[in-house]
């Protein structure tokens, strides 16, 4: 009884589309004045390349703790939205915690904790580094940075487009859901069976709502592509001169170098500590 209560309550609470939209928008556009947001995207991507890759290959727990502390600080600097941090904590610790319980069930003893701790530290460091870079940065800046490194034009277009279309899509989805609810007749949800039926009804409505959404989005994407064609998008995507003009806004400043060298110092010190211990 209690479990099913939690089940339906939890899903329905989080399904408030307004809440999700606010959090996503806050994440995308809400923190443009932080230290991280003001930095050059190319420097941040190099930084991410290190902290996103190196922890996977290192098994020294002291070094990993050092890296973890550094990315925690940068995440705090980036002022990431609460929901993202909540998801991060839930994701990291439920995953490895779950693995630990099953390991104990299969007759492993406490010796299983150390490798799992290392795994948790690795996952946490890598995800926090990505939270810092990808959610602390302005989407357009990020797209420009990726383009500078020669990523496909499609990808940077997708990032910029996604951030612009998402609020519109979410609002439309919510309107369709509401209209379905207005016309629909939800089942009673007093008892356990009724609650399950109600949940099935909700999922059913969501799936049905994608039918008009698909048709509307098809129309919209045709308009988008036609407008892009008028502006010569596919020509500009392969033209070097247009690319150069687009990327001329990027500048590396002293703050970026300071950030990079401070990170280097921190890493070097943690390597030093790990060799002494």
């Amino acid at each position: 009884m209690k479990i099913t209560d939690k089940l339906s309550e939890n899903i329905l609470d989080k399904l408030s589309v307004d809440f999700l939209r606010n959090q996503v928008l806050k994440n995308a556009y809400g923190n443009n004045d932080t230290v991280i947001a003001g930095m050059d995207p190319r420097i941040l991507l190099v930084w991410y390349l290190f902290f996103g890759l190196v922890p996977w290959f290192v098994n020294d727990s002291n070094f990993l703790i050092g890296c973890f502390l550094l990315v925690t600080i940068t995440t705090l600097l980036a002022q990431v939205a609460g929901l993202v941090l909540f998801l991060f904590v839930l994701g990291v610790f439920s995953q490895t915690g779950y693995l630990l319980i099953v390991t104990l069930l299969f007759g492993g003893d406490t010796s299983a904790i150390a490798p799992l701790l290392v795994l948790t530290l690795k996952v946490a460091t890598v995800s926090l580094a990505s939270v810092t870079v990808f959610s602390g940065m302005d989407p357009d800046k990020l797209a420009n940075g990726l383009m500078w490194y020669g990523c496909p034009e499609r990808l940077s277009f997708s990032i910029s487009y996604a951030y612009r279309i998402l609020p519109i899509l979410m609002e439309e989805f919510q309107n369709i859901l509401l209209s379905y609810r207005l016309r629909g007749n939800p089942p009673e949800h007093e008892h356990l069976w009724g609650k399950i039926k109600y949940l099935i009804y909700q999922i059913n409505v969501i799936i049905h709502a994608f039918y008009p959404l698909m048709l509307n989005t098809a129309k919209r994407s045709r308009t988008t592509v036609e407008v892009l064609e008028i502006k010569g998008y596919r020509y500009a995507a392969v033209n070097q001169e247009a690319k150069k003009m687009k990327l001329s806004s990027l500048h590396v400043e002293n703050n970026d170098l300071l950030f990079l060298s401070f990170s280097f110092l921190w890493t070097a010190v943690s390597v030093l500590i790990s060799t002494w211990i």
Partner: protein, 283 residues
Amino acid sequence: MSTINKQSANQSQKLMVFVLTMALYGLATLFTELIPKFQIGIVEFSVEYFLFIPLTLAMLFDPISVALGAATGELVFSEIMLGQFGGLGELEKFITVTIGVYAAGRLVSDPRNRKMVGLAAFGGTAIQLLLGTIVDVLKVQFAVEDFEAVAGLPESVFFTEGFAFLNDLLFSGILFCLLPTLFLVPRLYGKIEPLLGMQPRTERTASASVGWKTVLGCAAAFACAVGAEFMAENGLSLIDWEAAWAESASAMAVGMTAAAVVAVAAVIIMRKHSENNLAEKRI
């Protein structure tokens, strides 16, 4: 003549299909990422997949644009936008989603044939999940040091991964992939194609059925996904080898620290300098 008979999707229509799939599937994966999962015992109940969206579209439009659009949408909306980008793991997800959706789209030559649609939807989901499971097992084997030495861990990984595969296939696969696809494909058929200025797919205009080239391409792509994981293993031994080669690790670390201190100092001095310059310019 043959070009006229084909389901002629030109470049801008392919871009339309790409944008459409990316926006829709991205929105859906954003929801799945945000809705918490429930675990009752070890049975996981989650709205894991909205895979029915790209599956449906892949059966109606050009499969490769849909497959790439879906994978990009997932990457951009739910990983990069929420800051959950996981590096190497994302490459594997990108490739498995692409293969699964593409295979399902190629299998269907006539979207009005319900049996074929159902089979392709289930098959595409199964392919995607199976590839993901294989890579997951490999990943845990490489990431945890002394994998074999920890009692009970290898079995538990195989057990949880195998169980998650069956659970996902039977729960999410049927509820969220098979049934919605069966519902949506016949309804959208003939209605959504004119909106993008295309002819509906028929038996005659469909691209040729799955040949050895497709299978070979998928195998090569999967090899890339596994290759990323093998790279991880090689990288591991490379770093070990370097550490053994360096005579004294702590001497190297001291050197690195000294270099870092110098770098920080240099940047601070540069910064002061440029600030002074700016102040002079203002005067």
